[in-house]
């Protein structure tokens, strides 16, 4: 009984303390709103949600925006499940005004009515990388302002492999030779894991002739035309199977998202398929590296990586939409912010002016952009959510030696069953 009483007292005490804090902040808000006639203390409040890394980069700029315009800007870090938390919070009316996230969220955010289209002037739009604008366009509307693009490329250890391979066969030959010479223990570090990784295998899938969704007349992805399970996809997976554990041994399920980069930086494999986020580790490990496009199969199609875009969105149920639009469409479009975000995490800026500015000091950037030039925009349609899991598992099964035709056909059926 005594313990319970103490517990109750503690809980109630905390609740009272919390209520005290709540009252404190709300009472301090009210006078500020009433004093709006004096410009210094005037202004509404803009709340931005971003993940940890971006929050740190955004803060100084958000504060500057606040100071310039006499408004209060709060950047809040949401370190986990930002998208889900944002959707839930906007439904409750307690969400932010602006959110920062990947462009493939757009389909889900739109179907939940969580974001509004952004209207950019033609000359603003033209300042961006075309692929980036295409990525944030959904149902013919622009839904976000992009600031960075990302795609995978082939990163190679130039000590082990001085020449960039032109085809995947060339890569396998070099890798095998290094393995025979005991200079490396793996041919290629392309992460798969037991459940596969659709994002990283995609260049090989496209080179083999596969596709995910066909495109409709207006250039959008069409969920009714599913490419997984079609003969082209089976052919692609047959080629992938040849690289798998029962074939060349270049693709392995034991190479997982966790160990792929570290295996490369510990010089156990000469080739790594990864994105700009792997560069920091490679630099830390003092690897002499170079970046080239992911090679395709000899005589196959072009290997096209997915291009993802990070963007700013205006929340549909934000409390200060006008200010959010002002921030997103007129402030985020400035190159200075893009450069600062690049410095926080080195992904190629989507704004051409910002890209040109940092290109000079960072040669890797241009190489990543080159590798992504022929890339395909990651589909943002809600149906894409149904692809990842079955596609990845089919990949893992094929790499492990399962029959490609049977596996891919049933993956296609599973995906089709999930698409409404």
């Amino acid at each position: 009984m005594r313990i319970r009483t103490t517990g109750v007292v503690a809980v109630l005490g905390l609740a009272l303390a919390a209520s005290g804090c709540g009252n404190g902040s709300s009472s301090s808000d009210k006078p500020a709103a009433q004093n709006s006639a004096t410009p210094a203390a005037a202004g509404g409040k803009l709340v931005i949600w971003a993940d940890d890394k971006r929050t740190a980069a955004l803060k100084p700029f958000a504060e500057e925006f606040g100071k310039e315009n006499g408004v209060k800007v709060e950047v809040q870090a949401v370190s986990k499940d930002l998208q889900t938390n944002f959707v839930t919070a906007s439904q409750q009316g307690s969400g932010p005004d602006v959110v920062v996230g990947a462009h493939d969220w757009i389909g889900n955010l739109v179907q939940n009515g969580a974001i509004d289209p952004v209207q950019l002037a033609a000359e603003q739009k033209s300042g961006f990388n075309e692929t980036a604008i295409k990525a944030v366009t959904f149902n013919g509307q622009l839904y976000g302002v992009p600031y960075a693009t990302e795609n995978v490329a082939l990163i190679r250890n130039t000590e082990l492999a001085p020449q960039a391979p032109k085809t995947i066969e060339e890569l396998v030959a070099t890798g095998k030779q290094l393995k025979a010479q005991k200079k490396a223990s793996e041919i290629l570090c392309l992460q798969s894991g037991q459940n596969g990784d659709a994002y990283h295998i995609y260049p090989l899938y496209t080179s083999g002739g596969g596709y995910l969704f066909g495109t409709s007349a207006n250039g959008d992805y069409d969920p009714k035309d599913l490419g997984v399970g079609k003969p082209e996809s089976i052919a692609a997976f047959q080629k992938i199977a040849k690289l798998g554990e029962k074939g060349e041994g270049a693709l392995k399920r034991s190479i997982t998202p966790e160990n792929s980069i570290s295996t490369f930086t510990s010089k156990k494999c000469a080739f790594l398929v990864s994105g700009p986020w792997a560069i920091a580790d490679a630099k830390k490990a003092n690897i002499s590296y170079d970046i080239s496009p992911v090679p395709g199969f000899a005589g196959g199609k072009e290997a096209q990586p997915f291009v993802g875009v990070q963007a700013f969105y205006v929340a549909a149920k934000g409390k200060n939409k006008a200010l959010a639009q002002e921030f997103v469409s007129n402030y985020v479009t400035k190159p200075e912010l893009a450069v600062a975000l690049y410095k926080a995490e080195p992904r190629p800026p989507a704004l051409t002016a910002a890209f040109d500015q940092v290109k000079g000091e960072d040669a890797d950037l241009a190489k990543f952009a080159e590798a992504g030039k022929n890339g395909q925009v990651l589909p943002a349609i809600p149906a894409m959510a149904a692809i990842w899991d079955p596609f990845g598992k089919a990949e893992a099964a094929v790499i492990g030696g399962a029959d490609p035709a049977k596996t891919v056909t049933s993956a296609g059926k599973a995906i089709q069953g999930q698409i409404k």
Binding site: Q111, Q119, G140
Partner: protein
């Protein structure tokens, strides 16, 4: 609270002492309920009731603001009842029961009822809000810039007080340098001489008869700014932010007459379907923005009849039982064996062993699960490297199952070791000594005396452990993630539990389907409840035998 409440209790048990403490002679049956009032008791009571009143007041404001009258009513009645209960001297049993009941209702009953009610809806991504929300979302997302229309530089202004006066958009065309004022009545041209514009941005900085708001001032009136739409011939001028405006047109609009959405450009209509909570065109095309509706038993029939869900159900259920029983049984056996070994009086340095043995229990299981997953890696994992094996642990169904159980064993045995140690110390040594005097072997004495007595104490914990492991999402999600998956079925893997399988079904498709997830969790709840009820009734019988 404890002081004032313990008064009547002790008075009833030891009536003889009561007059000494209260100083009042006992006269009647009612007088017995009059607890002595002590200073501490009074202070605690005042503070706690003050807290209750304070929390109620704090919670009332947001409820009033949100016009949640039902919630407010519940809050008022609960608070009033609490105050009444603890301010009178009557209703002694209720004084004990009410706080616990309140917490039970708040943290158990309401979530369960909420889950159950969600199971009858289509709540999920694309169906989260009301129909009105969906209509607003469809209309706003269809607003497009009129092709070839002007982009204006915008200044928000007012004729009255900056904080309350009616808003006007002062617009300037950057190309022709013409200036306009626009409000809900329409657009009218202003004389260029009346305004001063910034040469840099083209925005109007001052205009005769208007007070131009700076961004700070305008941002306070965000709602008024976004809702101000200036009608024009081709559409309407809307603000985008606080410094630009464009001429846009909503392509799609809701028509109450046909209860449908009509696209002004193509003439296509999508009729509201209240059964599925979405707007559907004649050819079956669905608008992505839907709303939440009651779907009756649809989720339940889907779980039972959809071959994708019910097909692998029994296989998964069987492994689920094997996993829960295996995790509980193996950890119990190992934990008890170690506890018995350390319980032996001949054992030295038991404290050191005990500390070492509970180490796995002291480490965060999240992290340990991930570490174990990497240790089972075929090429880079510690286990294969250490023993010179080449087992594809998570690649084959049975090795993956064994690996998962091994991890569970490592994570779980310290707990069983701890409780078994505690229970063993409660068994009097005289009993086992008596059996050895009677000539029983240690095994006989263990089987006949120690184990039954141990089980009486530990059975409820074993049932709890079973129920926990039955739904142990982390153990699977962080290690195999349900895999390995058969090549022809990416939905259901060899180590999938019902809960991880459900998770994939409900959240792996086109966005989250909370309705379906709630339905499956009701099924799982039923299974666990039945198993627990049977086990508890058996335990009770056992207790009767050995007690």
């Amino acid at each position: 609270m404890s002081t004032s409440l313990s008064g009547p209790g002790s008075a009833q048990q030891t009536p003889g002492r009561e007059p000494v403490r209260s100083g009042l002679p006992r006269k009647s049956r009612t007088a017995r309920n009059h607890a002595p009032i002590t200073a501490t008791g009074l202070i605690v009571k005042v503070i706690l009731l003050g807290l209750v009143a304070g929390i109620a007041t704090w919670a009332a404001f947001p409820l009033i603001e949100a016009k949640e009258w039902l919630g407010l009513g519940v809050l008022a009645v609960t608070t009033a009842a609490l105050l009444y209960l603890y301010l009178t001297r009557r209703h002694i049993p209720a004084k004990y029961l009410v706080p616990g009941t309140l917490f039970l209702v708040a943290f158990q009953v309401i979530p369960v009822l909420y889950t159950a009610s969600t199971a009858f809806t289509n709540f999920g991504d694309g169906h989260r809000g009301t129909k009105d929300d969906a209509i607003v979302a469809i209309q706003t997302s269809s607003v497009k810039q009129v092709p070839g229309s002007t982009e204006y530089a915008l200044s928000v202004a007012t004729k009255g007080d900056p904080a309350t006066g009616p808003l006007v958009f002062l617009l300037s065309d950057p190309k022709t340098k013409q200036v306009y004022a626009g409000d809900a009545d329409g657009l009218r041209q202003l004389d260029a001489g009346q305004v001063t514009a910034s040469s840099l941005t083209g925005r109007i900085t001052a205009a005769e008869g208007y007070t131009v708001l700076n961004i700070g001032q305008a941002s306070v009136r965000s709602k008024d700014v976004t809702s101000l739409i200036v009608p024009t011939e081709g559409g309407a001028i809307r603000s985008t932010g606080l410094s630009r405006a464009y001429e846009g047109k909503a392509a799609r609009a809701y028509e109450a007459g046909c209860d449908c959405i009509r696209d002004g450009e193509s003439g296509r209509t999508w009729a509201a379907d209240e059964k599925t909570g979405s707007f559907v065109a004649a050819d079956g095309e669905r608008l992505t923005q839907g709303w939440k509706v009651n779907v009756g038993l649809k989720n339940f029939t889907r779980v039972l009849t959809d071959p994708n869900i019910s097909g692998p159900f029994f296989g998964t259920l069987a492994w689920n039982f094997a996993f829960a029983i295996g995790s509980t049984g193996l950890t119990f056996l190992l934990g008890m064996a170690i506890a018995l070994a350390l319980h032996s009086p001949r054992m030295r340095g038991t404290n050191l062993y005990r500390v070492l043995l509970i180490l796995p229990y002291a480490m965060p299981s999240f992290a340990m699960l991930l570490v174990w997953r990497d240790m089972f890696n075929t090429d880079f994992g510690l286990i294969n490297n250490l023993f010179g094996l080449n087992v594809d642990w998570f690649g084959e169904a049975w090795s993956a199952r064994i690996a998962v159980l091994l991890v569970q064993l490592w994570l779980g045995y310290p707990y069983m070791f701890l409780v078994a140690t505690g229970a063993l110390q409660a068994i009097p040594r005289e009993l086992t000594e008596a059996t050895s005097v009677d000539g029983a072997t240690p095994w006989q004495s263990f089987k006949a005396v120690t184990l039954p007595l141990l089980l009486v104490a530990i059975s409820p914990l074993l049932i709890a452990s079973f129920a926990y492991n039955f739904n142990n999402v982390n153990a699977i999600l962080f290690t195999t993630d349900g895999g390995p998956f058969p090549a022809d079925n990416p939905r259901n893997g060899a180590t999938d539990l019902l809960i991880t399988y459900t998770y994939r079904l409900a959240f792996g498709a086109q966005g989250a389907e909370f309705g379906l997830a709630a339905t499956v969790s009701i099924f799982i709840f039923a299974i666990v409840a039945i198993v627990s009820a049977i086990s508890f009734s058996r335990t009770r019988k056992q207790e009767e035998v050995y007690a």
